[in-house]
C-alpha cells in the first residue's frame, strides 16, 4: 500500500486534541480564544467585503463559532472534514492559520487554496480539510468515500461532513447517509441546524420542526444525537462520543446541532425576510462567546487582553494578505490536469 494522501500531522497545539475527560480551564480558554478569533475574523471579512476589498461573495458563521471549534476539538489531526459555503470557521478550527485564509479570500498565491478557491473553496489537505463546497450537499458523499478508504485500510480515522438544515433536503444527503449507515462507515454527519436556508425558514423547507431533525437519521437506523450548538463543552463532549462510536466500527453518527445564524445569509443580505428583533434577541441570549465567557468567569480585563491579541492576529492577516502575491493570469491553467500516472503499487 502507498501511504495515504494525508499523512497525520501533529497538532499545532502539540497535544492530542481528542484527549478525553473534561476540558481543562486552560484548554477552555484556548478554545474561547479560537472562537473569538473566528468571530473577529468574520467581522473583519464582512468589513473588508463591504469596503469592496474582497472579490466574490461571502457567508460568515457568526453565532455558529462553538460548532466549528467544538467539533474540531474532538477530532484527531488526521481526521478529515468537508466544509460548506460557510467555511471560514471550520477551516480555522481545523487548524489553518488565518493568514492563509485571509490571503485566499484576497485571491493571493499565499492563500490556502493558492487563490484558486476563494471563500467557498477553502482547502487545507495537510490539516485534514478536504475542501469547502459551494454546492449544498456536495461534500457529503465524498466524506463517505474518504471514510470508506479509512475503513478499507483499517485506519482509525473519521470523516466529518458539516452541512446545514437546508442541505438535508438534497438527494446527495440521502444517498450519503444511506450508504454510510449501510457500510457502517466512520462518518460524523454534523448538521449545523440554524433553522434557515438563505431566506427560507425551516417551516418553508422542512416538514419537521428543527428540534425533530434527528428523525432524519431514523430513515437509516442511524445513531442520532441532539446537541446544543451554543454550548462549546456540549459540542466537544457529543463529538467525542460520536467519534468513539464511529471509529470503533459501530457506524456513522448524525448530530443535530442546534445553532443560530446571527447575520444575513451572505454579507450584504438585507434580511427582508426576517424581523430585526429576532437577531437582536438571539445575540443577547444565544451568543456562544458570551455563554463560554460567563462559564469561565472571564474578567473584562482578561477579555480585553485576549481580544486585543486576536484583533492583532486578524489585522496582521489582512496585512499578510494585502502584501501577498497575485497569481500570474496563466496560472489559471496550471492545475486542470495532474501529470504522469499513479505508479503501480504491487
Amino acid at each position: 500500500m502507498t501511504p495515504v494522501t494525508q499523512v497525520p500531522v501533529t497538532d499545532e497545539r502539540g497535544k492530542s486534541r481528542a484527549s478525553t475527560g473534561a476540558l481543562s480551564e486552560e484548554r477552555l480558554r484556548e478554545l474561547f480564544r479560537e472562537m473569538l478569533l473566528i468571530r473577529r475574523f468574520e467581522e473583519k471579512v464582512e468589513e473588508r467585503f463591504r469596503a469592496g476589498d474582497l472579490p466574490g461573495f461571502l457567508h460568515v458563521a457568526i453565532g455558529q463559532e462553538a460548532v466549528a471549534a467544538g467539533v474540531c476539538e474532538a477530532l484527531e489531526p488526521d481526521d478529515v472534514i468537508a466544509s460548506t459555503h460557510r467555511a471560514h470557521a471550520h477551516t480555522i478550527a481545523k487548524g489553518t492559520p488565518v493568514n492563509a485564509i485571509m490571503a485566499e479570500m484576497h485571491g493571493k498565491k499565499e492563500g490556502c487554496s493558492g487563490g484558486y478557491g476563494g471563500s467557498m473553496h477553502l482547502y487545507d489537505v495537510a490539516c485534514g480539510n478536504m475542501g469547502a463546497n459551494a454546492v449544498v450537499g456536495g461534500g457529503l458523499p465524498q466524506i463517505a468515500g474518504a471514510a470508506l478508504a479509512f475503513k478499507l485500510r483499517g485506519e482509525p480515522r473519521v470523516g466529518v461532513a458539516f452541512f446545514g438544515d437546508g442541505a438535508t433536503n438534497t438527494g446527495a444527503f440521502h444517498e450519503s447517509m444511506n450508504l454510510a449507515q449501510l457500510w457502517k462507515l466512520p462518518v460524523l454527519f454534523v448538521l449545523e441546524n440554524n433553522g434557515w436556508a438563505e431566506s427560507t425558514p425551516a417551516t418553508q423547507q422542512l416538514p419537521l420542526a428543527v428540534e425533530e431533525m434527528g428523525q432524519r437519521a431514523a430513515a437509516y437506523g442511524m445513531t442520532a444525537m441532539e446537541v446544543d450548538g451554543q454550548d462549546l463543552e456540549a459540542v466537544v463532549e457529543a463529538t467525542r462520543s460520536a467519534r468513539d462510536h464511529a471509529v470503533s466500527g459501530q457506524g456513522p453518527v448524525f448530530m443535530n446541532v442546534r445553532t443560530y445564524r446571527f447575520t444575513g445569509h451572505y454579507v450584504g443580505d438585507p434580511q427582508v425576510y426576517r424581523d430585526k428583533s429576532e437577531v437582536r434577541q438571539l445575540r443577547e441570549t444565544q451568543d456562544p462567546l458570551e455563554l463560554l465567557r460567563a462559564r469561565l468567569g472571564m474578567t473584562g480585563e482578561e477579555f480585553e487582553r485576549v481580544d486585543a491579541a486576536v484583533m492583532a492576529e486578524v489585522e496582521a492577516s489582512v496585512e499578510f494578505a494585502q502584501a501577498g502575491t497575485d497569481p500570474d493570469p496563466q496560472d489559471a491553467l496550471k492545475w486542470v490536469y495532474a501529470e504522469g500516472t499513479m505508479e503501480r503499487d504491487a
Partner: protein
C-alpha cells in the same frame, strides 16, 4: 416601459403572463420574500401570493420533477434553478423525463415547462457558480434552448417559452441583469427559433450568445475604426437553431467567428462551426474561429478569472485572424 433593465424585463414577462392565467406559477429557492438570489422576482409574492410564488427546499431534482408533473397535468410552471451549475443535479429529470415523455408516450403527453436559470463569470464566483452549460442541452432532442442577451429579447422570448408546449431551458446571464435597453410598451412575444441580426456588416460574421453578444458589439465597433465591417448575429434560440439566417450571413461575409463565454471545447461554438462550414463551405475565405473560455475550471482570483473568460479583445483578435487570410 421604454428604458428597462434585463432584470425588470424578466419580471415583467413573468408578471404579465401570470396575470389572468392561473396555470402559471413559479417554484424555486428563495424566490418569494427574497425575490431570488438575483432579485428577479422581488415583489411578485406580494402580488401573486405564496401559492403561486413558491419557495422550495434545496431539491433541484424535485423542483424540476414537480414542474414536469404539474405541466403534464395542465399547468404552465416556471421553475427556477438558482445557478445553472445546479442544473447538474436536475439532469436526469430534464434529459430522461421532460425531454422524452412526449415521444415515449406516442404523443399523449405535453410538457409545457419552462426552466429558468442564470450563471456566468465576471465577479469571482469561483468554479462552482460560473459555468455556462447551454451546449449540453442543445444535444438533447425534445428540449428547446434559449439564451437571451437583451432586455427586449429576454422579455419576448420568456413569454414565448412559457407558452411553448415543450420543455424550454431558459438561460439568463448574471452580469446582464443590470443592463438597460428599450423595450416596446406592449409585450411582443418573440418566436423561438429566430436569430437576431444586431448589426449588419460585410467582412465577417460574429455569431455570439449571452454576454458575448455585447462583447462582440464592442469588438465590432473597434473593428469598424480599422475599416472592418462586422455583422453580429445572436441566435437567441440555440435549439431549434435558425441555420438559414446564420449560414446566409456567412455566405455574405465569407468569414465567421463564434463567441460564447463557455469553454471552447465541446461548446455551442462547435455546433455553430459544424453547421456553418457545411452550409457555407464554398463561400468561406478563412477557417471559422471559435472564441470562448480557456479550458479550465474557473479560478477565484480575479486576475486568473479575467484571463479565462473571453472579452471584446478576444473577439477582435479572432476577427483579425479570419482576415489575415487572403
Amino acid at each position: 416601459m421604454p428604458e428597462t433593465t434585463y432584470r425588470e424585463a424578466v419580471r415583467d414577462a413573468l408578471s404579465q403572463a401570470m396575470r389572468g392565467d392561473d396555470r402559471i406559477f413559479l417554484m424555486g429557492e428563495d424566490i418569494a420574500e427574497m425575490g431570488g438570489s438575483m432579485g428577479v422576482t422581488s415583489g411578485m409574492v406580494a402580488e401573486f401570493g405564496p401559492e403561486r410564488i413558491r419557495n422550495t427546499p434545496i431539491s433541484e431534482i424535485a423542483i424540476v420533477g414537480a414542474g414536469i408533473g404539474a405541466a403534464i397535468q395542465g399547468m404552465l410552471p416556471v421553475v427556477e434553478i438558482m445557478y445553472e451549475d445546479f442544473l447538474t443535479i436536475s439532469m436526469e429529470q430534464i434529459v430522461n423525463q421532460a425531454a422524452k415523455h412526449r415521444t415515449m408516450s406516442g404523443g399523449q403527453v405535453k410538457v409545457p415547462l419552462t426552466i429558468r436559470t442564470q450563471g456566468g463569470a465576471g465577479w469571482s464566483p469561483g468554479a462552482q457558480h460560473a459555468q455556462q452549460l447551454e451546449s449540453w442541452f442543445v444535444h438533447v432532442p425534445g428540449l428547446k434552448v434559449v439564451f437571451a442577451s437583451t432586455p427586449e429579447d429576454v422579455r419576448g422570448l420568456l413569454w414565448s417559452s412559457i407558452y411553448d408546449p415543450n420543455p424550454v431551458i431558459f438561460f439568463e446571464h448574471r452580469t446582464l441583469y443590470p443592463i438597460k435597453g428599450n423595450v416596446p410598451d406592449e409585450l411582443v412575444p418573440i418566436p423561438l427559433g429566430k436569430a437576431r441580426v444586431h448589426r449588419e456588416g460585410t467582412d465577417v460574421t460574429v455569431i455570439a450568445t449571452g454576454r458575448l453578444v455585447h462583447e462582440s458589439l464592442k469588438a465590432a465597433e473597434d473593428a469598424e475604426k480599422e475599416g472592418i465591417s462586422v455583422e453580429v448575429v445572436d441566435p437567441r434560440t440555440l435549439s431549434p437553431l435558425d441555420e438559414a439566417t446564420l449560414v446566409g450571413s456567412v455566405r455574405k461575409t465569407t468569414r465567421c467567428v463564434t463567441a460564447h463565454e463557455a469553454v471552447v471545447q465541446g461548446g455551442f461554438g462547435a455546433e455553430l462551426a459544424a453547421v456553418v462550414q457545411h452550409g457555407a463551405f464554398d463561400y468561406l475565405d478563412a477557417p471559422i474561429e471559435r472564441v470562448g473560455a480557456e479550458f479550465a475550471p474557473l479560478p477565484f482570483a480575479p486576475v486568473m478569472e479575467d484571463f479565462c473568460v473571453p472579452h471584446a479583445a478576444d473577439v477582435l483578435d479572432a476577427i483579425h485572424r479570419t482576415l489575415a487570410r487572403a
